[in-house]
């Protein structure tokens, strides 16, 4: 995963895919991407409020794979119930970051200050390091990650993007189903 591509770089589009919560569904989705040569930039999967379904949020590299084909092929998977393409302007996007940063006694307060600015939390404190959790828009998480870099990153994990359509009346287009795209 390269941090060079921000969320507004047009080669990346976010698909919000509602799937049946059954064994092997993620393998079907991932297998489809691999056998048709589509590239996944990031992927997040979790159950929804309805236990029968899970939501997979996939950031697709549309430069290497035409979005319309990706959506149409995904829609053919029997366990895929609904596909929405979320345009960044019409969606609320979020990502979670866990990062362990080197910070000795002198630097610790600087780091803690930055964590405060980004609304994050210190989740672990060592002698010369901190582990921090930050949730926010992918842009904010990118910014925070680059601010932490100079201190020295010992470990980093991002969840990949998740998203829901905005509640501003434009959502019907954002919640465009696979059928509409074709």
């Amino acid at each position: 995963m390269s941090p060079d591509h921000g969320p507004n770089v047009p080669r990346h589009r976010l698909l919000s895919v509602l799937v049946e919560n059954k064994a092997g569904v993620l393998a079907r989705v991932a297998g489809l991407f691999s056998r048709r040569g589509y590239n996944i930039y990031s992927l997040a999967v979790a159950p929804t409020d309805d236990e029968r379904f899970s939501r997979i949020s996939i950031v697709v590299d549309v430069e290497s794979s035409p979005l319309e084909q990706v959506v149409a092929q995904l829609d053919k998977l029997i366990n895929v119930v609904e596909i929405g393409e979320l345009h960044p302007d019409e969606a609320r996007e979020a990502e979670l970051l866990l990062v362990s940063v080197s910070a000795d006694a002198d630097q610790r307060s600087q780091v803690i200050e930055l964590v405060g600015v980004f609304g994050g939390r210190i989740v672990d404190v060592g002698h010369d390091a901190l582990t921090v959790m930050v949730a926010g828009t992918p842009e904010a998480v990118d910014d925070f990650e680059s601010l932490m870099r100079p201190y020295g990153i010992a470990g980093l994990q991002r969840t990949g993007r998740i998203a829901l359509p905005k509640l501003d009346g434009r959502s019907p287009t954002a919640e465009m189903t696979a059928r509409d795209i074709a």
């Binding site: 049946e20 079907r28 297998g31 319309e68 084909q69 149409a72 895929v80 609904e82």
Partner: protein, 589 residues
């Protein structure tokens, strides 16, 4: 009523009105083979699991009903991967049941364990691993529903041994609940209107009919559309028989080995009605040069096909038959159709048909062999002549099955198909060895029809062990081997594109002894070496109805398939038979 999982599986197959299962037992599937004894379902014991899969495909293509194969875990399952991939490419409804090791042993590298659902993920429309006997009726019902609706295809049910020996309370689900599966049916009326408008405006329209015509049982609707509009029809390799070759508007097969008129009609067309076809690379040649002047209406039941290769002016996501019927209705509603606009186009097509028919140099009667400089003797019998003779000597509704290669192309070119589902071949995957088992499956499904397979000598050797199955099960198929002693299509490419450097393509006409092979398998074996012997041998074969017949036709190894559009070339660069004069590019009245 309490049943074992195995009993529930067999009963579920009975509920799906399965009449025959092609299979071979083994350890993990053993429990299911016990209740099979008491079931009215016929079981055909194959000699290799690949045979079971292709038989199920042949059965499905001949009858329009799903074929069913049942094999054991591990090697049984991996042996059936090729037929699954074949059925996936050709959208053949096929339900495959594989045994699996007990659920407690899954993932432990147990004896004859393989990750069957994982392996077949990319070659099935969907697959299921059953983990609870109570799920069996639901899953079987879902599997048949998925295999036979929408764009049909293969599905697989992986069936662990402990699920088979476990028990469940029998039920049969009233309906299928698949929230993510909604096959399209009716066409959007506005798209139909847009298509109708293009039909009225076109001066050089062509219907490009694909396998979807057969899958959606749209042959009658297609004929109505052609008769109503006067638009000529090309039938792809998968659609041969969906429109009668004898119909004046039928142009035959387009594509890499299509005839000149079918190929060129598409190139010069101003409107292409693509009905259940998918712009396969063997049809389009170089995509950017394919039908360059044509507006495209594309009807398909699979959304992913619309716009995948060629972006249509009008895309219609629908069942092909329903869409064609709606189009016919829309055109009728617009008043009487004037065919006179198409007269110059039809005249041009007729001229091409007269100038560039599929042809070959007929051999002189009397000589079985000709002496060739340095290369000894070779047969003079032309493979095309064998197919023409076979066509002339068999009922019009004969089911013709083929393998893959030169013989397949000649069969498609020189046979005259008059009815749907009379042509069964491996189109998309190109599976050598398809013909013998597929012919057996077709004959099991349609015992009332004469079933002939035209096979190559290379193909035949891949699956001919199934002749033992055919003899044992009294399935009187007839196999015509066009024995040119070579992997002929590869030889042709080495001849044309590799400076005649023949690499690993020679097979020998005598090894194996095909007549001996046939007799060893309980079949009648015949050998034909000269043109005069062809029809008597076919007539002899037609008279045999209690066992399979194999005819070893010794054919001219130098014969090549023409026309040919070289791989990657534009269809405009079609190469016709050498004895025909070169076509004038762009010749159009």
């Amino acid at each position: 009523m309490e049943l074992t999982g195995a009993q529930a599986l067999v009963k579920s197959l009975e509920m799906q009105e399965v009449e025959v299962v092609f299979g071979l037992p083994g350890g993990a599937i053993l429990p299911v083979y016990d209740p099979i004894i008491d079931s009215p379902i016929r079981h055909i014991l194959v000699r290799h699991e690949q045979g079971a899969g292709h038989m199920a495909e042949g059965y499905a293509q001949a009858t329009g009903r799903p074929g069913v194969a049942m094999v054991t875990s591990g090697p049984g399952a991996t042996n059936v991967v090729t037929p699954l991939a074949d059925a996936y490419m050709d959208s053949t409804p096929f339900v495959c049941i594989t045994g699996q090791v007990a659920t407690s042993a899954i993932g432990t590298d147990a004896f004859q364990e393989s990750d069957t659902t994982g392996i077949t993920l990319g070659v099935t429309k969907h697959n299921w691993l059953v983990t609870d006997a109570a799920d069996i009726p639901r899953i079987v019902r879902e599997a048949f529903h998925v295999a036979t609706t929408g764009r049909p295809g293969p599905v697989l049910i992986d069936f662990p041994k402990d699920v088979a020996t476990g028990t469940m309370e029998w039920y049969w689900p009233d309906s299928v609940d698949l929230p993510g599966y909604h096959p399209p049916s009716h066409a959007d009326p506005s798209a139909i209107q847009a298509a109708a408008a293009l039909v009225f405006a076109a001066e050089r329209p062509v219907i490009y009919a694909g396998g979807g015509i057969l899958k959606s049982r749209a042959a009658e609707a297609l004929r109505e559309l052609a008769d109503l509009t006067g638009i000529p029809v090309v039938t792809t390799l998968m659609a041969r028989g969906s429109f009668p070759d004898s119909h004046p508007l039928c142009l035959g097969m387009p594509g890499m080995h299509g005839n000149y008129t079918a190929v060129t009609a598409i190139q010069k067309a101003d409107l292409l009605l693509a009905l259940g076809s998918r712009f396969d690379d063997r049809v389009t040649g170089k995509v950017s040069a394919f039908a360059p002047k044509a507006k495209v209406v594309h009807v398909d039941i699979d959304k992913a096909e619309i716009g995948k290769v060629r972006r249509p002016e009008v895309g219609i996501l629908a069942d092909c038959r329903l869409a064609i019927e709606a189009l016919v209705e829309a055109i009728r509603a617009s008043g009487p159709v004037d065919h006179s606009r198409l007269v110059p186009w039809i005249a041009t097509l007729h001229r091409w048909q007269t100038e560039f028919p599929c042809t070959y140099d007929r051999s002189e009667p009397g000589n079985a062999e000709i002496v060739t400089g340095g290369a000894g003797r070779r047969p003079t019998l032309k493979p095309q002549f064998v197919i023409e003779s076979l066509r002339a000597s068999t009922p019009s509704d004969t089911i013709l099955v083929s393998g893959v290669g030169q013989h397949q192309m000649w069969a498609s070119q020189y046979w005259s198909f008059e009815y749907p589902n009379t042509w069964i071949n491996s189109g998309g995957l190109g599976t050598m060895g398809f013909a013998v088992p597929a012919a057996i499956g077709a004959k099991v499904g349609r015992p009332d029809r004469m079933v002939w397979a035209v096979d190559g000598d290379g193909c035949f050797q891949m699956t001919a062990q199934e002749l033992a199955t055919a003899t044992a099960e009294r399935v009187p198929v007839k196999i015509a081997i066009l024995n040119n002693a070579y992997l002929g299509m590869v030889r042709q490419w080495q001849h044309m594109f590799y400076e005649e450097r023949y690499s690993e393509v020679y097979l020998s006409p005598d090894l194996p002894d095909y007549v001996g092979w046939a007799e060893a398998m309980g079949c009648v074996g015949l050998r034909v070496e000269s043109p005069e012997e062809v029809i008597p041998a076919i007539e002899k074969a037609n008279d045999v109805d209690d066992r399979p017949v194999v005819i070893d036709f010794r054919t001219d190894s130098m014969e090549q398939v023409f026309p040919i559009v070289p791989a990657g070339a534009s269809n405009d660069d079609i190469v016709v038979y050498p004895s025909q004069s070169a076509p004038i590019p762009g010749a159009l009245q």
